[in-house]
């Protein structure tokens, strides 16, 4: 192969590469373009044929969020629900992961398998019995109720990831510490947890994203602004807040407010998200 043809082939490959990249990015982002556009379009221009690619830009749809729905309450609920679910799941999962990784007892690996496999139990299947349980406990339409079930759903994946990270903490460090007479919880606090900060951060971020995005539990267990989250509010605006139609502009504005925090999170914490999702197999 001559240098010339090699270079020409190389250029062709480059062009193909950038073309594919362009298509890829376009497809990945197109719905958001359309949503951002709708969120800025005035109501009366929204249903025009052909669609209005350059509408008069308006902030009305965002203003409507504040005026037409209890947006602030939903936002606060979303944050509290996500944070509390993260806290619950991470604490329980960390303890469990340490137990599985470090304390050798018979049957431990089968318990771990069951716990991880319980990730496969579809949440939708548990909804009717859970509704009855929460109703008996008086936890319907409370953040406590949805946090409990969401925190639980997050546990298997968290344990699965954390076990592999605990195993990577050199056990000698802990043994040295125990010989020094340090109590187990001090070992956890001063040695294991500091060594696992990146792993914990990863799990915290991933669980937060999952809880923030969860629709099912608030959809079926929340009825008022006492515990409804943003994900439910978008379905609510879609079908019920006005009896007559779907205010696409407001739906889009709501979508934008939910998407922006996630995009910021991804931009800042990409590395951690990836290492968690791939269970640390990225070097």
């Amino acid at each position: 192969m001559t240098a010339e043809s090699y270079r020409r082939r190389n250029t062709a490959v480059r062009i193909l590469l950038y073309l594919s990249l362009g298509i890829f990015v376009f497809i990945a982002l197109i719905p958001f373009y359309w949503m951002f556009l709708a969120s800025l379009t005035p109501r009366h221009q929204l249903f025009s044929i052909p669609p209005n690619y350059f509408p008069d830009v308006t902030a009305d749809n965002f203003a409507a969020l504040i005026h037409q729905i209890p947006f602030i309450a939903y936002l606060v609920n979303s944050l509290v629900f996500s944070a509390a679910s993260v806290l619950l799941s991470v604490i329980l999962s960390f303890l469990a992961a340490y137990g599985f990784a470090r304390i050798e007892v018979k049957g431990s690996s089968i318990l771990l398998l069951i716990l991880v496999l319980s990730m496969a139990l579809p949440p939708i299947v548990t909804v009717v019995p859970l509704f009855q349980i929460l109703r008996t406990l008086g936890l319907i339409d409370t953040i406590t109720g949805i946090t409990l079930v969401m925190g639980s759903v997050l546990i298997p994946f968290s344990v699965w990831v954390l076990v592999s990270f605990v195993k990577r903490v050199p056990v000698e460090m802990e043994e040295a510490a125990t010989i020094d007479g340090a109590r187990l919880f001090q070992v956890l606090w001063y040695i294991v947890i500091p060594a696992m900060v990146p792993a914990l951060a990863t799990i915290i971020i991933i669980n937060f994203i999952n809880a923030w995005n969860n629709l099912l539990f608030p959809l079926v267990f929340s009825h008022t602004e006492a515990s409804k989250t943003l994900t439910v509010s978008i379905t609510e605006v879609f079908q019920a807040r006005t009896p007559y139609g779907r205010p696409w502009g407001v739906i889009s504005a709501l979508g934008v407010t939910m998407v922006v925090p996630m995009i910021i999170l991804v931009l800042t914490a990409q590395k951690w998200i990836v290492s968690g999702l791939t269970r640390g197999s990225i070097k």
């Binding site: 009366h44 249903f47 037409q68 009825h223 008022t224 609510e236 079908q239 007559y244 139609g245």
Partner: protein, 415 residues
């Protein structure tokens, strides 16, 4: 030593709080209060009604108007857990037909009959009484007092029909003829909001009734109605297929962008049309009687009404509120405040004297074309079966016969 000081300080604050709080709590008896739960759009009108009619002056009861969950299932599950716990977030609720089925069959609502004497019902026209019988009574008890009477109206563009020298259609066949005459390009003769999820079922119910049947029987009238709609879309092409993906907002928009000449719509379009001054002119949104189907000239009405949950905290106050809002002398002023309270009760129509939407309600009421919405005890599930059956046929997934056969089987299984 800092710790000790801080500890003491906290202790002092707690002690002070412990002394002050109960005192604050026992300051004076709370004024009597009721909580009224209504749909989000009705909060403001209800508040104004309570203020302007002077409910609190008369009874000494404060009223807090709050939003109840918008969709029936949500509301049902909220109330189911509250009532199981022996409480209720509301003393009075404003409920629609769908919710009324579930709540009344569950025995969650108080009998309101004792509030009213026989004379009270003299104010009600025959058709409204019939509707109340079907939709607001169960086991002989009155569980809901309707406060409005929302018929479906036939809106048309008088300006466009005039320009063709046409009159609004009187029958289905005429509707197709007029539709053919005015359909051109992006403009369709007839349209509607027919998205699945409560919209489509309404129109099918409406047409089936005009064909002389009850949609839930899925009899020959149901087939006739489906066939008619199918033909308007696919054969005569006077009705856009895209209507099957549209809600009321969108079809209203199409109408106001001159893409629709005739449509069936609920009374709220009256306000919608007038809130668009750039477009609006009287002859662009006229109402005619509904085109008669093969059997009947009819358009059914739905209604919302006041109910009191059996577990209401302030039962006495709740009953007073329902009685107050239902008084004949209040019906007119209420309708003046908002069409949300417009009904065909004599007292209401007399007071309104043909102003606003009352003109059209009177037109329909006098012509006797307002029918009662057909009832099915399984409510939304039955409604969904109707929609799925209709959509399968209208989108060419099945023949009419196949779709109806499946629909009948599913409907039979509901009982």
């Amino acid at each position: 030593m800092i710790h000790k000081k801080a500890f003491l300080a906290v202790l002092c604050i707690l002690a002070a709080a412990a002394m002050v709080l109960p005192a604050a709590g026992a300051r004076e008896p709370e004024p009597e209060k009721i909580v009224v739960g209504v749909g989000g759009w009705a909060v403001e009108p209800t508040q104004r009604a309570v203020e302007e009619l002077g409910f609190t002056e008369e009874t000494g009861i404060e009223v807090e108007v709050v939003t109840r969950p918008g969709s029936p299932p949500e509301f049902l599950s909220q109330m189911s857990s509250a009532i199981l716990g022996g409480t209720s977030p509301y003393d009075v609720i404003d409920i629609e037909d769908d919710v009324a089925i579930g709540f009344s069959r569950s025995g969650w609502l108080v009998d309101l009959d004792p509030l009213f004497d026989d004379e009270f019902w003299d104010d009600w026209p025959e058709a409204m009484l019939e509707m109340t019988e079907t939709w607001s009574r169960h086991g002989g008890e009155l569980f809901r007092v309707p406060h409005n009477y929302e018929a479906q109206y036939f809106w048309y563009r008088k300006d466009i029909l005039d320009s063709y020298g046409l009159q609004p259609p009187q029958t289905w066949d005429e509707m197709v003829e007029v539709g053919k005459a005015v359909t051109s390009g992006d403009r369709y003769g007839v349209s509607d909001g027919l998205a699945q999820g409560a919209y489509l079922g309404v129109y099918i119910t409406y047409l089936t009734q005009q064909a002389g049947g009850n949609v839930y029987d899925m009899g020959p009238e149901f087939e006739e109605a489906l066939q008619f709609l199918y033909d308007m879309i696919h054969v005569h092409e006077v009705f856009p297929i895209s209507a099957l993906d549209k809600d009321y907002d969108q079809v209203n928009n199409d109408y106001m962008q001159d893409r629709v000449v005739m449509m069936r719509q609920w009374p709220f379009f009256y306000g919608v049309a007038r809130s668009n001054p750039d477009w609006f002119a009287e002859d662009k949104a006229q109402v005619a009687l509904p085109p008669a189907g093969p059997a009947e000239q009819v358009a059914y009405a739905g209604s919302w009404g006041w109910s009191v949950p059996t577990t209401a905290d302030n039962m006495d106050g709740a009953m007073k509120f329902v009685e107050f809002m239902s008084r004949p002398e209040h019906q007119g002023p209420l309708a003046e405040i908002d069409t949300w309270f417009l009904s065909a009760r004599d007292s209401c129509l007399e007071y309104m004297d043909g102003r606003g939407m009352a003109e059209y309600l009177e037109l329909y009421s006098d012509a006797g074309v307002i029918g009662t919405r057909p009832f099915h005890p399984a409510g939304q599930e039955a409604h969904t079966v109707v929609e799925e059956t209709a959509a399968a046929y209208l989108t060419n997934q099945m023949t009419l016969r196949q779709a109806v056969r499946q629909g009948r089987q599913r409907m039979a299984d509901l009982d």
